[in-house]
């Protein structure tokens, strides 16, 4: 037997922290069609697979880059930070989860708010970060939405929320539940001020987020194939004890059932938003 295939050096191992995972590395494999692309290519395609159109999950930083005119946005309310008021501890204390998530993401919490320009028009955007504890909705998410609404009213600007969340943050218990009430209540003030509210749902938008601000837009829009629903698919499957149909709770399903106004691909997002905002805000004689 040829010695070619013989491992001469024993025990070659790479420590976990040295292993590179896409998209941090050079290559990215599409989770849908397994096509590979360089990370740079992926970035140029706005994190959408050039072959199958799969929209990879991105966070506020990337969405702000896509939506806002370059350098026009200002981050707002960055001082608002989560606190473990209940002393909640499951397999890990919530206080530690917060610190770990902040270290891993460089973010304060699962919500980032910015005001800026989109093709020269004003817009306030509150964008969820799925990488921060599953984009879960806690007090900070609610407070930042609340202040974002106040800011939009004060400056007479349109308001948009980009949802990307597994739902309520259990570690904040009833406080997280009440963020549904808080955000919905505040949206009535925006409504009375006759300022537009655009709800943009991305993969995934579930639980208490769906059952509050995500479904309350003057227009509700979504990215293609995003999971959008109240109950999670696993829970529904366990409840009804049968398989769920293909495409169940995806954007296209919601559009078909009348809960979305339109689905927009990432590459068209800025233009579609700009046209829509113009319709809402254009001064007429």
């Amino acid at each position: 037997m040829s010695t070619w295939f013989k491992r001469i050096k024993q025990g070659i191992q790479t420590a976990t922290h040295e292993k590179k995972e896409a998209p941090d590395g050079v290559w990215h494999k599409c989770p849908e069609c397994r096509t590979t692309a360089t990370v740079k290519e992926l970035e140029q395609h706005l994190y959408v697979c050039h072959k199958c159109g799969y929209h990879n999950r991105i966070n506020s930083k990337e969405y702000f880059n896509i939506i806002f005119d370059e350098g026009s946005e200002t981050l707002l309310f960055e001082n608002i930070r989560p606190v473990d008021k209940l002393g909640f501890e499951d397999v890990k204390p919530y206080s530690k989860r917060i610190i770990d998530a902040q270290k891993a993401t460089g973010l304060g919490d699962a919500m980032t708010v910015a005001a800026g320009k989109i093709e020269g028009q004003d817009l306030v955007v509150a964008c969820m970060n799925f990488n921060f504890i599953g984009g879960s909705m806690g007090s900070v998410v609610g407070e930042k939405i609340s202040r974002g609404i106040d800011y939009a009213i004060e400056h007479k600007m349109p308001f948009m929320i980009i949802s990307k969340s597994g739902g309520a943050r259990m570690m904040e218990s009833a406080f997280s539940l009440m963020q549904m009430a808080k955000t919905s209540a505040k949206l009535t003030r925006l409504d009375k001020a006759r300022l537009p509210y655009i709800s943009f749902m991305t993969d995934p938008t579930t639980g208490g987020v769906t059952a509050s601000y995500a479904m309350l837009g003057d227009i509700n829009i979504a990215e293609p194939k995003a999971l959008i629903g109240f109950a999670g698919p696993r829970v529904i499957k366990e409840t009804i004890k049968r398989d769920l149909p293909d495409g169940f709770q995806r954007s296209e399903f919601l559009l078909e059932h009348g809960f979305l106004d339109f689905i927009v691909e990432r590459k068209d997002l800025k233009a579609r938003l700009s046209t829509t905002i113009n319709w809402f805000m254009k001064a007429t004689a």
Partner: protein, 322 residues
């Protein structure tokens, strides 16, 4: 009577009581009145002991007690001239959500809430108190009707959650609840919401935006049931008691956090032990709340409602806003 695991000492006493009465029924010459009196006393003493220090999980159990009074019981005891109304005018009538026009002490009001069943058949018919989207839309229709005729609204909350079904998703469970949160905020009439049993998450909140939100003493209200919380965070069902503690879901906790306005005391032994007494206490609370809320100007009441919910949450604001 049915007894929960921690009520075992009571079960024994009630058992003795039954036996005594049996003896008396067979032979009424045997005088058992003294024995009965003694037993009654020790039942009250034992009850006080059993109920003195309830754990959060025991309160969850009490909130689900099979003999606990449900919405229609309270409607029958507290209100007169109840006219039940049905349907959401779109899809169907949701039997998990009931309500209608009624009077309380001569005041016309709209009363509604989730309804659980009392036996296997009616539990299924009521879908265990889990409403579908049409239930929330039925509730909203009743509330808008009340608003049109300037009638205060009373909601009685008792649900293990909004129904997580396939059709529920097709018909927009999330949208239905969200719409209620938004519309209830804007109602021009007084809204009083009372958790009478289980207050599980969005399914409870969907009829829970009020000027007064109160909890009966032995109820719970939070974002998830202790069982589901245990299953998600600990990956098993064994930590439900721990989850109940961690979630701080009792009426006392919720009042302490300022997330509900009031706690309504239950008779010793819980609402199911003395349902009529419970009904009287609840009626007094509702009448008091109506008296307080009705004179307030509608716009002011709405603003107070928005401000109340807007204040809910905890966070740190590291640098004071200029």
């Amino acid at each position: 009577m049915q007894f929960l695991d921690f009520e075992k000492p009571l079960e024994e006493l009630f058992h003795q009581m039954d036996k005594l009465k049996e003896v008396h029924a067979k032979n009424d010459k045997v005088d058992v009145s003294n024995a009965i009196k003694e037993l009654e006393d020790s039942i009250e003493i034992t009850r006080a002991k059993v109920y003195e220090h309830l754990t959060p999980w025991q309160r969850v159990q009490l909130s689900r007690h099979p003999e606990r009074p449900y919405t229609l019981f309270y409607i029958s005891r507290l209100f007169n001239n109840f006219v039940e109304i049905f349907g959401d005018r779109q899809v169907k009538d949701d039997k998990a959500m009931v309500g209608g026009m009624a009077e309380i002490d001569g005041i016309p009001v709209m009363v509604l809430g989730q309804q659980k069943g009392t036996n296997t058949k009616s539990r299924q018919m009521r879908n265990f108190g889990m409403a579908n989207p049409e239930g929330y839309r039925k509730a909203l229709r009743m509330m808008k009707l009340a608003e049109k005729f300037n009638r205060p609204i009373i909601t009685l909350i008792d649900t293990p959650g909004a129904y997580p079904g396939l059709e529920a998703e097709e018909r927009g469970q999330g949208e239905a609840i969200a719409r209620n949160l938004f519309e209830m905020t804007n109602l021009k009439v007084p809204v009083i919401c009372i958790i009478i049993g289980e207050g599980a998450s969005g399914g409870a909140l969907g009829i829970g935006i009020g000027d007064k939100v109160a909890m009966l003493e032995n109820t719970w209200y939070t974002v998830i049931s202790p069982e589901s919380c245990s299953s998600i965070l600990w990956h098993n069902w064994e930590n439900k008691e721990k989850a109940a503690e961690q979630l701080k879901l009792t009426s006392t906790d919720m009042k302490g956090f300022g997330l509900v306005d009031d706690v309504i005391p239950e008779p010793l032994g819980g609402a199911h032990a003395k349902p009529d007494e419970m009904a009287t206490i609840l009626k007094q609370y509702i009448l008091g709340a109506l008296k307080e809320l009705t004179p307030i100007n509608a716009d002011k009441r709405i603003n107070q409602r928005i401000d109340k919910f807007s204040k809910m949450g905890f966070y740190e604001d590291q640098v004071a806003h200029s």
